[in-house]
Symmetry: C2
Subunit: 150 residues, 2 copies
DNA sequence: CTACTTGCAAATGCTTTGCAGGAGA
DNA sequence: TCTCCTGCAAAGCATTTGCAAGTAG
């Protein structure tokens, strides 16, 4: 999933980003980053709490907020209103999300290059007249995941 | 903006949707619907509070929740995490959103028919392998609006 | 040493809910 | 007259913050 050859490279880059805002890369933050890096979908606070029980809630919130501020994480909001986090796209392949409106689950899907060329062209089409300067885009598909269709 | 010839048609349809869930179309709910219908972009709770000061917060929340449950409204989450509401797409033209990450503003943009055909084809491409049943999609463009680019 | 981190508990702030009086049909 | 609606105040709940002890460099 990562565009880094090794986990060490990932950590090194995260550390650089944190240093830019005078933050240290401590064990707790490392644990959060590793958890997110090992997941194939965005995690909510409770996901994180369950999988790193030694980290108190308030610290987890602070880690997420600091890492987000440093540009390491991306915060997304699904159909339910729990914030979910994933590594920023600098660390991952660019991808889109399938949001299950039944269970709230978020599924990552990686588009093909030609797919993305088309999206980029279309984004331009939408923004040009508005004088809007696009920095990124998100194509969310809302529906029901395979396990919620019985 | 509406696909209805008159505001009366809009209200009539809303009333039907509410009746389906044994709810009445009262003055407060009407005011919320009219406000959303007159806006060219999604409104947050505080927008609504400011523009309909006679409606108490708790009632506004209840109206939004009931109207949402009836299928009249669509709830969206922008880059800041304030919920915003707009009329469901049955009442509006299908459209996408430009999200300004500087000021949080949400701008509606209406795509062309050929644009949407392409999006629909691409959505299929993303979901088919996952066994995911798509019901709708949202293409959000993140960036900076014209007034936030100085 | 000096500055950043962390854990706990308390506080915040948005949102929801209980309840009693009011209104629609 | 039965059921739904509304306003107020109180409660809930995810998230944030103050503070003091801990740790990195």
């Amino acid at each position: 999933m990562q565009t880094f050859d090794s986990v060490e490279d990932l950590h090194e880059f995260v550390e650089v980003l944190l240093r830019r805002i005078d933050q240290r890369y401590t064990a707790g933050r490392r644990a959060v980053v590793e958890l997110l890096a090992s997941s194939d979908h965005p995690l909510s606070i409770s996901d994180i709490e369950i999988r790193t029980p030694t980290i108190p809630r308030s610290s987890a919130y602070r880690h997420l907020s600091d890492l987000h501020r440093a540009g390491v994480l991306r915060r997304i909001t699904a159909s339910d209103e729990f914030a979910r986090f994933e590594l920023a796209e600098d660390f991952l392949h660019h991808h889109h999300h399938l949001l299950c409106s039944s269970c709230g689950r978020v599924i990552d899907v990686t588009p093909t290059a030609s797919f993305e060329r088309t999206v980029a062209r279309m984004v331009h089409e939408l923004t040009d007249e508005q004088g809007f300067l696009a920095t990124s885009h998100a194509l969310d598909v809302i529906g029901h995941c395979a396990s919620c269709q019985n």
